[in-house]
Assembly symmetry: C2
C-alpha cells in the first residue's frame, strides 16, 4: 500500500479526492483490542512503554481505517518531569499529589526535558513512523497551557475550576509564571515530537471553554499564542483545538493554528468562513452521533460535508473524544460514510 | 419601602437608573438560612409546601438584596402530573423511576394540569406576591422542552445525553409527540403561574448546549418557539435561557424570548448587538467570579457593564447557577458593585 498523505494535504488546504477522517481518543476503550492490552497494564505504564503505546496507536488505523494515527499518550505525561507527582487512579482519572496553590509552588516547577523526562514518547514516535511508513501520517500532541494549569492547580479533573480561576484572578503574576513554565515545557515537548517524526501536532485546550472571553483573552491567549507561534514554520501542521470555546472563536483564531479544531456546537461552514484562506478546519460531528442508526448518521455526516462544500482544508473528526461505549462497527461506518460522501461532494469541483 | 420595578423595566428595555441584578439558584444552599430549613425538610417537600417555598424564595431578597425574587421550585415539579415517578435522592439529584424509552411510553404521558397537579406552586406565588408587594418583582419559571425531555429519557442527570439523542435520531415521530406533550404542559404551567401573579417567567433550557446547531434547529427550535410564542403577549416578560448554546445564538434568537439569557462564554456586548432593539439581555458573569477577591471581581463586573454600555435592556445575572460554596457576603458584594458601577455608567446618558 502506498503512503496516504490525504490528511496532511487537507491540513495544508491542498486539494484532496476525499475528506480525511480521524477520531479524538481513537486509540481507546471502545476497542476490545485496546481493552485486552489495558487489562494487563496500567494506564501510565502503557504511555511510558513505547512498544505498548505504538501497538494501541496502530489499532484504529488497522481496525477502523482512519486517515491518521495519533500517538497513544496523555496530556499529563510531562508532569513528573516538571516536578509534579502524577498518578492515575482506577476509575477516578488523574491525581496530582502536590497541586500548585502558591507562588512558591510555581517557583518549584521546572521546564521538563523532553528527552530525559519523556524519551519514551519520542521512542514510540520513532517505532510508529516505521510501522506507518506505508500507511498514514502520525499526529503528536500536548495539552495547552490553560488545560495543563487547571490540572496542576485543581489536582484532578473538575467541572468548576474554582481553585484554578481563583488562582488566576488573585495571583496574576504567579499565574503568568505558571503558564510560562508550562508553555516552555509544551514548546520543547512538541518540538521534540516533531524532531522524532510527528508529521502534525495537536494542542488540546480541553477545558478552556469554561472561561469567559475576557479571561481567555487576558490570562490564556498570550500563552497559547506563544506556543503556537513557536511551533509554526517547523514544517508540520499545528492543530489548535479549544474545546467548548466556539463562542469565542475570534479569540481562538487570534491565538493561532494551521488547523482549527471545532467541537460540535457550531456550524462548521459559518466557522470556516471566518478562517484565513490558508487555515484548515477539523471537526465537527457530535461524538454521540455514533449511537444513531446508520440513516440519520449519514444525514448528519452529509450535513457537515455540505456545510464545508468544496472549500479545501477540512479534516473530519468528532467534536470531542469518542465515547467509550461506542460500537467499533459504527466507527468503521463513520469512516466509510465520510469517504463515500466526500468523494461525491468533492467531485463537483 | 416602595415597590422597585427596575427589573421589569430593564426586561422591557425601558430606562433605569441602575442595572437590576438577580442570581440563578439565589434561593439555595450557599445561604446558611436555606440550609437550616433544608435540614428539616426534603427537597420535593419544600417545593410542594407553599409556605416553605415562599420562605426560601424571600431569603435572597432580604439577605442579599437582589432586584427580583425567583420562585423556589424545580423544573421537574410538573413530572408527576404527566405520569412520571419522580424522586430526589440525597446527593444524587433527581431520578425518574419510569423513564421514557419507547413510543408507547410517550403515549402514556398526559398534559399535566397546572392547578390539580401543581396548585402548590400557584399558592406559593400568591403568598409571595403579598410578601413582595413593597419589595421587588417575582419571577416564575419552567424547564424548556429539550431539557425536560432529556431528564424523562435518561431518567437522571447526565453529561452525555446518549439515550436522549439516540431517541431523537431514531424515533423522530415519537420525539415530536414527546416534545409536544411537554410543551403543552409547560405552556399551561407558565400561563397558570402568570395568572397566579408571576410578573416575569423564565424558560430554562439548561442542557440544550449539548446539541449541535443542526439538531437544535430540527428537533428543538420549533417546540421552544411554540412555547415562547404561546406566552408572549400575556403582559409579562419571558426570559429564554439556553445554557451553553452561545455558539448558536442565531437559532436561540429565532426561537424567541423578550429577554435572552446568556451564559458567561460570550461577549455580552457582541451578543446584544445581534438582538432586536426591543429585546433585552440577561447575564453574564462567570458564577465562579464570586470566588475572586473584590478588586478583580469589580473589574469583571465593570467589564460586563461597559460592554453593554448605556443601551437599555440589561438584567445582570450569573451565567449559570450560583455555586453552593459561595460566601453569601460575596453575593452581597456583587449586588453592591452592579448597583454602584451601573449607576455611574448609566448616568452618562
Amino acid at each position: 500500500m502506498p503512503f496516504d498523505d490525504t490528511f496532511l494535504r487537507a491540513c495544508r488546504c491542498e486539494p484532496v479526492d476525499h475528506t480525511p477522517v480521524w477520531m479524538m481518543r481513537q486509540a481507546g476503550r471502545y476497542l476490545p483490542e485496546y481493552r485486552a492490552i489495558r487489562e494487563k497494564h496500567g494506564f501510565l505504564e502503557m504511555c511510558r512503554t513505547p512498544e505498548l503505546a505504538a501497538e494501541v496507536t496502530m489499532q484504529p488505523v488497522d481496525l477502523v481505517g482512519v486517515d491518521a494515527a495519533i500517538l497513544f499518550s496523555d496530556i499529563l505525561v510531562p508532569f513528573p518531569g516538571m516536578g509534579l507527582e502524577l498518578e492515575f487512579c482506577e476509575g477516578d482519572g488523574p491525581v496530582i499529589r502536590n497541586p500548585v496553590r502558591t507562588f512558591a509552588d510555581v517557583r518549584k516547577l521546572r521546564v521538563a526535558d523532553p528527552i530525559d523526562d519523556t524519551g519514551f514518547v519520542m521512542e514510540a514516535i520513532r517505532i510508529l513512523r516505521g510501522e506507518l511508513a506505508d500507511k498514514v501520517p502520525l499526529i503528536g500532541f500536548a495539552g495547552a497551557p490553560f488545560t495543563l494549569a487547571s490540572y496542576m492547580i485543581e489536582g484532578h479533573g473538575t467541572r468548576e475550576y474554582l481553585n484554578c480561576k481563583r488562582f488566576m484572578w488573585s495571583q496574576p503574576q504567579a499565574w503568568d509564571e505558571l503558564l510560562t513554565v508550562i508553555s516552555d515545557t509544551v514548546i520543547a515537548y512538541l518540538t521534540a515530537q516533531i524532531d522524532a517524526g510527528a508529521q502534525a501536532v495537536q494542542l488540546f485546550d480541553s477545558w478552556v471553554g469554561y472561561l469567559s472571553p475576557r479571561d481567555y483573552e487576558r490570562y490564556v491567549l498570550p500563552h497559547s499564542a506563544r506556543v503556537l507561534a513557536a511551533l509554526s514554520g517547523r514544517g508540520v501542521p499545528v492543530i489548535h483545538f479549544a474545546n467548548g470555546a466556539t463562542s469565542m472563536l475570534d479569540l481562538v483564531l487570534q491565538a493561532g493554528g494551521d488547523v482549527i479544531g471545532l467541537d460540535w456546537r457550531l456550524d462548521i461552514g459559518a466557522a470556516m468562513a471566518r478562517l484565513r484562506p490558508d487555515q484548515a478546519v477539523q471537526g465537527n460531528i457530535d461524538p454521540i452521533a455514533l449511537f444513531a442508526p446508520d440513516d440519520p448518521l449519514e444525514e448528519i455526516v452529509v450535513d457537515i460535508l455540505e456545510r464545508v462544500g468544496t472549500r479545501p482544508g477540512h479534516v473530519f473528526n468528532l467534536g470531542h473524544g469518542i465515547h467509550k461505549t461506542t460500537d467499533p462497527e459504527k466507527a468503521r461506518t463513520l469512516v466509510r460514510l465520510v469517504h463515500e460522501q466526500s468523494r461525491r461532494i468533492l467531485s463537483r469541483v
